[in-house]
């Protein structure tokens, strides 16, 4: 476990890459310790807004101390971040959470599945995995993002809800449409998608590592705000609840009751 820190990061660049979706590069030493699937807490400046916004690490350039965050404007905090320009500063807390178990995927055929704003963490994960991988991405419509970046690291399949690009439907429909197979799944996306993946993995008898989301306050395991239901008693809490910010955000699908 590397030490968590709250640091001041400098905006290197920011651009909009799809409707309401922003692509932000920050310069920060936190990049050195970033592991795929981990996240940072980004603090809004506005004094009325106190809590850090959890945002996944999309890419980490360890050599140049750079972190890439790709996020959707969902409210006041992210709207403030979207206005940041090169040279601006942001306070960030990190790196947080456990991340994906990259080592467990060695020698396996893996599906990397991302839905909507769950796609960004798949990029750093795809980069960290050497074996061949199938990357399944679900979007609302033809306003795609990050699919070109991801195509460098594996075979990308796209689904859109409106059918404007790729398979009509979601990531599960891609599996059926192309009769794809995998020995393991790593995924991040909306809850209905994660539930479908949990069920699919159970039917196929394969491991699925899914990244969960919950409202957070501290981000470091202190407040117990961010828990998810677990099937067994959690080793830390001694009840059927695990802290998404600390034991997660990535859980093996069988461990959690979603």
């Amino acid at each position: 476990m590397t030490r968590k820190k709250k640091v001041t990061a400098t905006v290197i660049s920011q651009k909009q890459i799809a409707e309401q979706i922003y692509d932000l590069w920050l310069e920060t030493k936190l990049a050195k310790n970033a592991h795929p699937g981990q996240f940072v807490g980004v603090y809004p400046h506005g004094e009325s807004m106190l809590l850090p916004r959890p945002i996944s690490i999309c890419e980490a350039d360890k050599a140049r101390n750079r972190l890439r965050l790709v996020y959707r404007v969902a409210g006041k905090g992210t709207a403030e971040f979207a206005a940041c320009k090169a040279g601006d500063q942001l306070e960030i807390l990190g790196v947080l959470g456990n991340g994906f178990p990259v080592d467990k995927a060695k020698g396996k055929r893996v599906f990397l599945m991302g839905g909507g704003i769950g796609i960004p963490p798949m990029l750093e994960l795809a980069k960290a995995m050497d074996d061949k991988k199938q990357i399944l991405l679900g979007y609302r419509n033809k306003d795609l993002f990050l699919e070109e970046d991801l195509a460098k690291y594996g075979d990308v399949y796209v689904a859109t809800e409106d059918g404007s690009v790729g398979t009509k439907g979601n990531v599960m429909d891609i599996i059926r449409a192309y009769s794809l197979h995998a020995d393991m799944i790593m995924a991040c996306g909306p809850m209905p998608m994660l539930r479908a993946i949990k069920q699919y993995a159970a039917e196929k008898g394969i491991e699925a590592y899914i990244s969960l989301e919950e409202r957070m306050a501290c981000g470091v395991g202190a407040c117990l705000g961010c828990v998810c239901r677990t099937t067994e008693k959690d080793a830390h809490s001694h009840v059927n609840n695990a802290r998404i910010c600390t034991e997660g955000p990535v859980f093996e699908a069988r461990e959690v009751d979603i």
Partner: protein, 300 residues
């Protein structure tokens, strides 16, 4: 410069504590602060048995503060003693154990279990649902507060701090009841009951509908309550509610608090506790104050 304070015979190297429920067991903030620098760590509420807590969402941001409805999730006294208390014992800081329960018997069980431990003081959270009185918290009726305080005092080996709820008509009535029942100190304020509604989904933001508000926005309410209580009782008060800086802490001391605790601001600034202490020291230097106790209740 001397920052030492005494509460019910216990000496604190300085008046700054981490507030219950906002600092985990201290372990979670070990990357950010040297726990040895704190006057005390107040631990998350612990009950006789593990509690699951409430469904999520449990937290929500509100203007200048936050709401929480954690529901006092805790691993129970056994795990707490083996793991959390054992961890904190290694540090040169006082440990105050926050105790919760659903019945008076639950509280008494925890208090007795803690008798021979390193806990320096007990802080009794009387904002817990009281199953015997239709979920009205123990701290919201003067007679039930008197009752639980006197029963705990009979069993407790350590000095007892009663943590008062601000969700009452007259805080001084509660403070007097606790004092009359033998409480050694008071801490205040616990969170103020609030609510947030998502107007787009027409739904409550918290699964529990209501949650306790804390953070900078509640500070004026807390300072007022500390002041009124300090006028009404003789026992020492640990003040909290929105403390973010040394200046905020000094306000509580001037209002009559002997010590202060930092809660929700730990989430905003993980080094908040130590920075509050440094801020108090800077204030003392600026005004040539030799001993921090000179500030207690010094508002004119």
């Amino acid at each position: 410069m001397n920052t030492e304070v005494k509460i019910a015979g216990v000496t604190f190297k300085n008046p700054v504590m981490a507030a219950s429920g906002t600092f985990g067991s201290g372990m979670e903030y070990g990357d950010f602060v040297d726990l040895n620098r704190l006057g005390a760590v107040v631990t998350k509420g612990v009950a006789n048995v593990p509690w699951e807590g409430n469904p999520t969402p449990r937290v929500a941001e509100v203007y200048g503060g936050m709401l929480n409805a954690i529901g006092l999730q805790n691993p129970g006294i056994d795990v707490f003693m083996e793991r959390d208390l054992a961890f904190l014992q290694k540090y040169d800081t006082n440990v105050i154990v926050n105790v919760c329960g659903k019945t008076v018997e639950d509280y008494l069980e925890v208090v007795e279990r803690l008798a021979d431990t390193s806990a320096a003081m007990l802080e009794i959270n009387v904002s817990c649902p009281n199953v015997k009185e239709g979920a009205i918290a123990f701290g919201q009726k003067a007679d039930s507060l008197y009752n639980i305080t006197s029963q705990i005092k009979k069993k407790a080996k350590q000095p007892v701090i009663m943590k008062l709820s601000p969700n009452v008509t007259d805080i001084t009535e509660m403070a007097r009841a606790a004092e009359a029942a033998g409480a050694d100190a008071l801490s205040m304020i616990n969170t103020i009951t609030g609510m947030k509604i998502d107007i787009h989904r027409k739904k409550f933001v918290l699964a529990n509908k209501t949650g306790g508000m804390s953070g900078p926005a509640v500070k004026p309410v807390a300072v007022r309550m500390v002041y009124q209580t300090a006028q009404a009782v003789k026992i020492p008060i640990i003040g909290m509610g929105g403390i973010a800086s040394g200046e905020d802490a000094v306000e509580f001391l001037l209002a009559g608090a002997t010590a202060v605790a930092v809660g929700a601001m730990n989430f905003v600034n993980p080094c908040a506790t130590v920075e509050v202490l440094e801020g108090i020291e800077a204030y003392m230097r600026q005004y040539g104050i030799e001993h921090v106790t000179e500030l207690i209740g010094a508002v004119e």
